[in-house]
Symmetry: C2
Subunit: 235 residues, 2 copies
DNA sequence: GCGATGCTTCGGTAACGGCCGAAGCGCGGC
DNA sequence: GCCGCGCTTCGGCCGTTACCGAAGCATCGC
């Protein structure tokens, strides 16, 4: 009865994710951008009215947020916690399902670089985190607030603008494919935004994949001191 | 169709957690110990035969592991990933449900110290992680393998024996109540085991709560250099 | 051996929830 | 103003599944 973190609440959230159509919607929103109800219906493979019901439920539960714009309604994940939960579920699901050998080009691209809600993940995200830590600009050990003074100066010189807000400045988010941490929080979001603005990476379509541009391949290692083999696959 | 990390697999795992009875079972197993089928049925508030069905499904899905012992069958979480996913879901659920103000003594104890599957969490887990990082024994920035050489020596001198295995040596696991990272992985498990063996903490009943003993209150700060106010609640 | 205990399998019931067709709002365009 | 489009609400159908009672296997104690 006086259970600490009620099983029912956990079950409620999990059940919300536990429907194929809703899971497809949530995964589509992992790209970090808000999508219109109709697009999400197409992603999930259901009719608009069915999707509308799902969206209303997830909105009421606080899992999604809504933005009205003209006759469109755009939905996005309500918080970074939701995105983290989805990544954790993906890690379990990848282990659980035998994962028939089909690591197509799309999968390879995702392992190299992708968005995790609003920050960069994949080998790119991991390499950035490790390079910044190695140079003493970031200390993940401190937990929530972990950019050093040198890091502040470095990022400012680079032109990375970190927004204000309630969210933690810097957090470690465990990677689904790499199983090593990458940078999340406001810093993670700012780094992704800077990389996009600098033309180092581009979003590939509406999914989560990020495309590394020639400029990025050239300038990213210089800017952040990435090792020369950062883009290469590991065992 | 060729979606990267199939929505269906994610939905399948989430749906497994998304039933009140199964969620209760999984949360009961977050204590890290294996429990018998009958105990789990009682925890979930269902009859043994109903629980048996749930357990069989989760076993087949690879979410639970089973150990037969005489006429008892003990179940435990199959992997640390499952535990992480549950913690993430709890974080979301805590945000989502208005959380009526009832932080009873039990809740306070959980925030102070609890097990997270097989390692220590709560303020104790966070304080340990930060103290070890501050003294240069652990560097979370490196990701998976993050105990420094000094740390190896320190832990060996202390008598903490880190087991072998496939699991990462050291990982950061984000805390549900503190929202700061604590140590997981083989190191986290070894630290908890050492604290239990030293009589610094005791398991409270079958739940996840850990009781700090007088010896622990005295010796833990000395052994790990915890700050004097580590046990106090923060805003 | 025998009965008791712990767990599982089987069968039937009941309820929850996803799905779509049709109809109802709200906004934008001509 | 009218029509078209996007999204939502309503009503009914149907599949899935959680649940329990009863029976079937194992294992332990006597």
């Amino acid at each position: 009865m006086s259970r600490s973190a009620s099983p029912n609440a956990v079950a409620g959230v999990a059940a919300l994710i536990g429907d194929p159509a809703r899971a497809a919607i949530l995964l589509a929103l992992m790209g970090g951008r808000a999508l219109a109800a109709g697009e999400l219906a197409a992603h999930a493979g259901v009719t608009p009215q069915t999707a509308s019901g799902h969206l209303a439920r997830m909105l009421a539960a606080g899992v999604l947020a809504q933005e009205k714009q003209g006759r469109h309604r755009y939905y996005r994940l309500a918080s970074a916690e939701i995105a983290e939960t989805l990544e954790a579920l993906m890690a379990v699901a990848a282990r659980v399902e035998p994962r028939r050998r089909a690591p197509g080009p799309r999968d390879a691209a995702l392992r190299l670089a992708r968005t995790c809600y609003d920050h960069a993940a994949g080998r790119l995200g991991v390499a950035l985190a490790e390079a910044l830590a190695a140079r003493g600009y970031v200390r993940l050990a401190d937990g929530a607030a972990a950019v050093t003074e040198e890091g502040q100066a470095f990022l400012a010189a680079l032109g990375v603008e970190i927004g204000a807000g309630r969210r933690p400045l810097c957090r470690a988010c465990l990677d689904w494919s790499e199983r090593r941490p990458h940078l999340a929080g406001r810093l993670g979001a700012a780094l992704l935004e800077h990389a996009l603005a600098s033309g180092w990476v581009r979003r590939a379509g509406e999914g989560r994949a990020l495309l590394l541009t020639p400029a990025g391949l050239r300038e990213l290692p210089l800017a952040f001191g990435l090792p020369s083999d950062w883009a290469e696959e590991r065992p």
